[in-house]
Amino acid sequence: MTVLVVAGALLALGLLDGALAGFRSSLGRTGAVDHRARDRVAARRGLGLMAALLLPVAVLAAGHALAPGDWPAAAYVRAGTGLLAVYLPYAAVVLAALAAYVVLGWRWGYLASALILGPFTLVRPLVATAGVLLGAVRAGDAVVVAGCLLALAAVLAVEPLSGRLWWDTRRQGVRPTASAAQRQ
């Protein structure tokens, strides 16, 4: 039971992070004012990509469970609660700031972004690594540690990969209106 609760909480946080990473990876690509529809698509894709990237963790855990010998549920719980100890407060602050950005007036929205959302995006790789380090130290099981490292790889890869897969405009060159007429 505890294992399921911890795994469920981590999966929910992972998918939420994937959705937000996908959203971020699509921002600043077109210059359009209204990008809400695009944001939704990007968030869905980020969530799906994160699910795919976390699949190896699930396969590893399942393989571990099917292997002969006792399945070390306690090691998973220890590692998982270590991850949650770092990720839950981070997620709570980010969600509160996002709520402030969306609900409160523009001055509060600006402050939420300037003081929390921007800096928290910057430290996200460090927070992800810190959580995995704590989880790994607490796990005391090599396979569980490997699972933690695979999850870390997924978290670090999701945003750049989503950008490359769906939103990178670099290979498209300049848009037609912006060149020919002006050049002599």
Partner: protein, 288 residues
Amino acid sequence: MRADAVEITDLLWDVAADGVRRPVRRSAVVDRLRATGQHGAARIVARMPATDDVLDPDAVDALGVRVHCELTRLVEELQFPRRVAATLAPVLDRLRAAGPGPVRVVDLGCGLGYVVRSLARSGLLGPDVELVGVDLNPVLVAEAERLRRDEDLACRFVHGDALAPGVAVERPGRTVVVSSGVLHHLSTEELTALVRAQAGLGVAGWAHWDIAPCLWSTLGAWVFHRARMREPVSRHDGVLSARRAHPAPVLLAAARDGAPGYRHAVLEGPRWHPRAIDVVRPLVGTRP
């Protein structure tokens, strides 16, 4: 950093007053950057595609549009359209009370015109306000116009020099000039010229937003450009803009010099009690 350090995007286009574009030598840009000790920036430019030492204009244009697309994300997070609307509201009310007819807001150095397009979309300034964006870079003007068409917005964009009087100003007494993130591109002489050009026409007023140079804005620029920007050019230029922005006394001196008949202020909190909201703040001028 040396006082004469420049942003990479200030060196990539050479457009004559008539809009004709001249080739830009990569080695000249690299040498210029090295001369001011900007070795990282020089390396970024040295990697840009060129033929016979001339920077590939298509690649430069594509880069410019990408950099400005990234910038719109920051402009949105910094709430620029709301800031403009909040500061202009009393000025626009005064102009409406003074007489009938439309009021025009001209955004100088509008880039991709995000502020103008966003204000057109939200209608925050009111239905009687005409919105015009002006930029020196014809590539950005064309792209701003394309984006305007895409979203069917009531505003327009023209190519022009902010320092040349009269660009997009037809009824000066009912025109308010704004800009965002442009002042730090100008020398103090150019600041004076900018203000003198508008005052000479007799525009109703202006509000030019720029970064307030301090430790917090430099730190904030670094954090946001690392967290949000992908292009090395954006990251370089963004942090440099915070470091080379003009302090309020310099802005005020240049404004008083260029427009002695106007009332001037830099709308920011006291130095001993800096406000987070004032990381970008306007130099405002109003005709008495």
